[in-house]
Symmetry: C2
Subunit: 378 residues, 2 copies
């Protein structure tokens, strides 16, 4: 379509979809054009039909087969062909169950950390800043131009998974690919410490770092919950009159904990990491909020004021359940006049660009590195 | 997820998806975790299962209900709630049938053109450049800084629809929103004139314009087939040693006429404009190629060499069947070191940002205008 004539699509109700092919429709055309509701069994309709947030008629999608694309690396093809991430639909019902899920998240990641450190030639030291646990990650060959630069990392995992060194994995990748020094914040999390503990911890570290670091030489980054927390840190720094970093890199940010956004539904079962909002990640939102309003901008930054934000680079994938979180954040930053770049990777599910075994991860981090180098003072 | 531990997803086969919730899985968990193939009736599987381009196991998606999101304007919500665009699945089987579809495309658009001209206060004059039909579009209030600038427009419509003034609609919007002078090329199309007629015509106009216009003050833009043609014009200009424009704006470019790309399948039936590659647009590819290899970079520019391309801004939507065409083009431009911006609009189907009755169109064209102004010499 070159452009959609105003009103054309709207003037047609779904029930008037009968094709008007001048040449005379084939039988195949007629079948394909029949309202999908007629073809689909009633059992295929779910309670989501009732929940159309706009109040307008939802679309019925037929069951489909989604092939593995050949337009990505062989390594990513294997990831796409894999089943849904085990445990995605485990929704803990008790505090003890949450803690077991948390323990499992750590156990899942721990075996890979030594290899990551060795491969990327980085040193990882546990420590404390302003009473908050951190991991300081330093490349063996820190380039002279990065000596005074510092990247601050806040990890993802729905504000509940990956405490301790497991959460620093993304920070290790950024230090490794970009040869930057990184401080990764091991913030407190629910079920013991709901909002605003994570943000309080992150802000305490940020305030402390500002004492002996030039904010023009610093950035804040993180993905998923870490992307949302990155945005919340800027909102809170603005409110408190604190200096802002020179750049931010919210990867597929969990900007809206109300689970609003089109891709939450459109990419359901297409994304093989988060899969759908009926899994643990959906349940993590109220767990984190701990009774606070999910629309509080410090919990769901998309409802905040982005004016004056630092330059931002946002990353997502075409299959990402949080593609809408990402593009809504990008558009809102642009509407506020903020310099903001968007990169969306073919075929990738949620935060899949953080998998260091796919070449697309190197590509994503190369873009982040370029962005940091162009915005951070020497 | 903060990052995917290498090998974790891959090490799990789809059949090992049984949840291991420490707290003990609920019945709901077990049902949700059962391999989808068990739940889906065999009739839900289509021939696409056989066509997995990578040879890896495809994913079975259940039938779903996709609500209209409330994260877009009310006007766009109404567009999203509308049924599939009438005629999307009309696949002409004869030359006469194609010509009737073409005539209908013109008839669909023609009634809206007077209102567009009046609303945007633009003058549209038919003419000829180098023997090729064009429409010259001039805003009533051409700003001084745009007096010497010229935007060259190549329209979309699968290289077959919207001959004549109907094809100039997108050019009118660019002239209207951005207050630029635009030359819209009414290139020859199949069934009478397959490839390379369209490209030959566009290049003839480009060569002629170069005689009395500074390429540093010009841009080329267009969406869908027009986005692909924009890319092909740059490839051919490079090959012929011609000067390149200062910027390009390929909107949701039809960069791959082989219909490769993940979103062609992932967004099938989600997009309500193109809907699926089984419609007329899929059939337009061989019609345009006219026996030439669909992987010829002048037909499918994604297979070309993007080094040395001008700065580019690309636009798509989260529901766009051509989202992959867009992000693959963006990534390939970036891989070639080209300055390239990406904007993806929440909830939009193919080229829906060209609908002037939604406020998101003004937003998209404001970004294009900013991009042009920052790259075109005065």
């Amino acid at each position: 379509m070159p452009w959609t004539p105003p009103g054309e699509a709207v003037s047609q109700s779904p029930s008037s979809e009968t094709p008007q092919t001048p040449a005379g429709p084939s039988r195949r055309d007629v079948v394909a054009a029949a309202p999908l509701a007629v073809i689909l069994p009633a059992a295929a309709l779910t309670e989501e039909a009732v929940a159309a947030p706009s109040g307008l008629a939802p679309r019925q999608l037929p069951a489909r087969v989604l092939p593995v694309p050949d337009t990505v690396s062989a390594e990513l093809q294997a990831r796409i062909a894999a089943g849904y991430l085990p445990g995605w639909d485990s929704v803990p019902q008790t505090t003890a169950a949450w803690k077991e899920l948390v323990a499992r998240s750590v156990a899942d990641v721990a075996p890979f950390l030594p290899g990551i450190k060795q491969y990327f030639r980085i040193d990882v030291q546990p420590g404390e800043i302003a009473g908050v646990k951190v991991f300081t990650i330093t490349p063996a060959d820190l380039p002279p131009e990065n000596r005074d630069r510092l990247l601050v990392h806040v990890h993802g995992g729905g504000y509940v998974l990956y405490p301790g060194e497991a959460g620093a994995g993304e920070g290790m990748l950024m230090a490794g690919y970009g040869r930057f020094k990184v401080v990764s914040i091991d913030y407190r999390m629910p079920p013991d410490f709901p909002f605003p503990a994570a943000l309080d911890d992150a802000m305490a570290v940020w305030r402390a770092l500002l004492r002996d670091h030039d904010p023009r030489k610093m950035a804040i980054f993180g993905s998923s919950a870490g992307g949302g927390l990155t945005m919340a840190m800027i909102l809170r720094s603005k409110a408190e009159g604190l200096p802002l970093p020179a750049a931010i890199a919210p990867g597929t940010p969990w900007a809206d904990l109300t689970n609003d956004g089109d891709s939450i539904k459109a990419n359901a079962y297409v994304d093989n990491i988060l899969v759908a909002d009926t899994g643990w990640a959906g349940a993590a939102a109220p767990l984190y909020a701990g009774g606070h309003d999910l629309r509080d901008p410090l919990i769901s930054p998309i409802y905040g004021d982005f004016s004056g934000f630092p330059p931002a680079i946002l990353t997502s994938g075409t299959r990402d359940l949080f593609l809408s979180n990402t593009v809504r954040t990008h558009r809102k930053l642009r509407q506020a006049g903020v310099e903001a770049e968007l990169q969306v990777f073919e075929g990738q599910s949620h935060a899949q660009f953080l998998d260091p075994t796919i070449p697309e991860a190197a590509e994503a981090f190369a873009e982040l590195t370029r962005f940091m180098k162009s915005h951070l003072a020497l």
